[in-house]
Amino acid sequence: MFRFWKVSASAGAALLLVFVGALLVACGGAEEEGAEERAAEEAAPVRAAFVYVSPVGDAGWTLAHDRGRQAIDALPFVETAYTESVPEGAEAERTINQYVRNGYNLIFTTSFGYMDPTINVAATAPDVTFMHCSGFKVADNVGTYFGRMYQPRYLSGIVAGMMTESNIIGYVAAHPIPEVIRGINAFALGARSVNPEAEVRVIWTQTWFDPAKEREAAESLLDVGADVIAQHQDTPGPQQAAEERGKFSIGYNEDMSSFAPAAHLTAPIWDWSVIYERVANEVNDGTWSSYQYWGGLEDGVVGLAPFNDAVPQEVRDAVEAKRAMIASGEWDVFTGPINDQDGNEIVAEGVTMSDGDMLGMRFFVEGVVGTIPESE
């Protein structure tokens, strides 16, 4: 017994030595390179850090932000870093704090749940600029940024409304928060502006990133006769479900056509480089001061992905006409008359909803089939 132990222990020790030895040998060269690289990086006047809620490979929300990051990383005066899958809530404070401690002077926190952590850390780091995506709390060194995603949502609704034959459009919704509700309403208004018979059926998944669950939700919508599927999550699950059944789909966040080449008609998408470049330049010039940015089609921070070949010219023309009206400021999506699901008038004819009302939106417009889970 004892002998065997000796044998296995010494075998283990030998194995370990081999590993450690191999590491030591291989490490020699890497050392100097790393040091040089770091010295070069420290020269960048803008050191921008990004805190991500999901992996960069999520194909959606975080990927869109990371494309924006890459765009400013290419600027000569900017260096960037990012952390993926940072939990929302107080855990994020440590990550944000570590960027401050490592000398980053511009920090983007890219999810709503980072709001309080961002404000808390910012209070201890007055020389660092913070930009928080989608929140509403600000400070002298904390600004917010977001895009009017409801505008391209409306345009994608036009596409869905003209392409549907069953007049049932499925919408796989994430969490019942105003941002998502606003997107559903804008989409339904778009669809019904060209097809008053169309209805938008909503299923809540209560997820941002759960490929299997989101796909199943899309399948159950297809089962009840939907022939176009739209979504608000960060995975292409619903797209794949539509592709398999030979139906159409509308993506989100990013051009998702590679996941569903036949189904994917278009997608309302983000282009965060617009705001990231602006902030990086302002911090570099020393002209930044706290503000709340909510840009739309006119800035290009939101837009539509390229159309599928299956989308006929008349649909493209209808979209283009509305796009021009929105981008020029002539008209916006939530302009009355708008009724809620029960037919009560919410916005009178000719009146446009205020930003505040849009940001707190908690009702469905006429034509949406579904309920907002709520009990207050």
Partner: protein
């Protein structure tokens, strides 16, 4: 197959402690090779992880913050494992503890911390204990497999919490986001100095002391150990193993519930969805910790601090060396892999036989 596993007649005590140490080292060595393949110097990475986590006062404070829920869950899981009750449900018990503590706050009570905190501790522990008693009761009455019941109840608990923060407990000023209002001052745990280290760490260390005496110095601790090692012998000796299963699980769940309570009252300061990080949830990490700690309370404290260091240091190298987030998870998984593999080798020996086994 000439290679066979044969049960060892006696287990080597030295091997018992060598396996966890070796498995951590092997895990670091194998992940080091992976790092090398991505062109990163693993020694620099490990050095940086270690010096951030244990070499700076800020880093070490954050390690202790991370270790607090891990110690409490780890102790609970350890006690259950001691009598071979496979409690995989610490995650759910933690959520129920957080829920119970929040229920106290949601009554609208805004009093002195001297009253509110004890009430929240009691509520959190009771809720965690009840959640653990369900599978214990099913085991005792119906012999239901506790691995399955405890695991599945985790999802129920997480959805239970979600129901309340999406519904009746949602802060009306949160723009519809699923979270409660911030707790009043009386419901927040004392923090030490400028750091985020909070009273929960004291709870955790106290729990370790109590468990040590229960386990090592009491008659009941002896019963648990005997029941774990040989249930039949325990029955013959007149030990009431049904009662012990219920007791052990009540304590186990109570400790996980306390972890949930201290995490929201000490760190989050509100009830929200991600009270346990979804990449490496506390309740599941506690299982690795209980194995590594050799079912020893001090071991749980030590390993929890090391795991905390792995997280905090891992976050640092994500930032300074741009390593991917999954790197820490890979190290964790490798540690568990080697511990389990090592356990088999410490219980069985690998025998090489030329001749075919009898009847084979």
């Amino acid at each position: 197959m000439p290679l066979r596993l044969e049960m060892r007649l006696e287990r080597s005590r030295r091997l018992e402690y060598l396996v966890p140490v070796l498995s951590v080292l092997l895990a670091l060595a194998v992940s080091g090779l992976l790092l090398l393949m991505t062109g990163t110097n693993p020694l620099t990475a490990y050095g940086e992880m270690f010096s951030e986590a244990f070499g700076t006062s800020y880093g070490f404070a954050e390690v202790l913050v991370k270790a607090t829920p891990l110690i409490l869950c780890g102790l609970g899981v350890m006690l259950a494992f001691k009598m071979l009750f496979w409690n995989i449900g610490a995650e759910g018990q933690l959520h129920m503890g957080a829920w119970g503590a929040t229920a106290v706050v949601m009554t609208g009570w805004d009093g002195s911390p001297w009253l509110m905190v004890p009430a929240m501790v009691v509520a959190g522990m009771i809720c965690g204990a009840i959640w653990a008693l369900i599978p214990a009761f099913l085991k005792v009455q119906l012999n239901c497999n506790e691995i399955i019941t405890t695991l599945l109840l985790n999802y129920v608990a997480i959805l239970w919490v979600a129901h309340f923060i999406y519904g009746p407990w949602k802060d009306p000023e949160s723009f519809g986001f699923p979270m409660t209002k911030q707790f009043p001052d009386g419901a927040q745990l004392l923090r030490f100095g400028d750091s985020r280290v909070h009273l929960g760490l004291v709870f955790a260390l106290l729990a370790a002391v109590v468990l040590y005496f229960l386990q090592e110095k009491s008659r009941w601790g002896f019963e648990i150990a005997v029941t774990g090692n040989n249930p039949t012998a325990a029955e013959y000796a007149g030990m009431n193993s049904r009662r012990n299963i219920l007791l052990v699980m009540a304590i186990s769940g109570g400790l996980a519930g306390l972890a949930g309570m201290s995490e929201i009252a000490g760190i989050q300061l509100k009830l929200l969805k991600d009270i346990s990080p979804h990449a490496a949830p506390y309740g599941y990490t506690a299982i690795i910790i209980a194995w590594l700690a050799r079912r020893n309370p001090w071991g749980v404290v030590l390993v929890s601090v090391l795991m905390g260091g792995l997280y905090v240091g891992g976050e640092t190298v994500q930032i300074t060396m741009k390593l991917p987030v999954n790197f820490v998870l890979i190290i964790q998984a490798l540690i568990l892999f080697f511990v389990l593999g090592g356990d088999i080798l410490s219980r069985y020996k690998l025998v090489y036989r030329r001749e075919a086994p009898i009847g084979g």
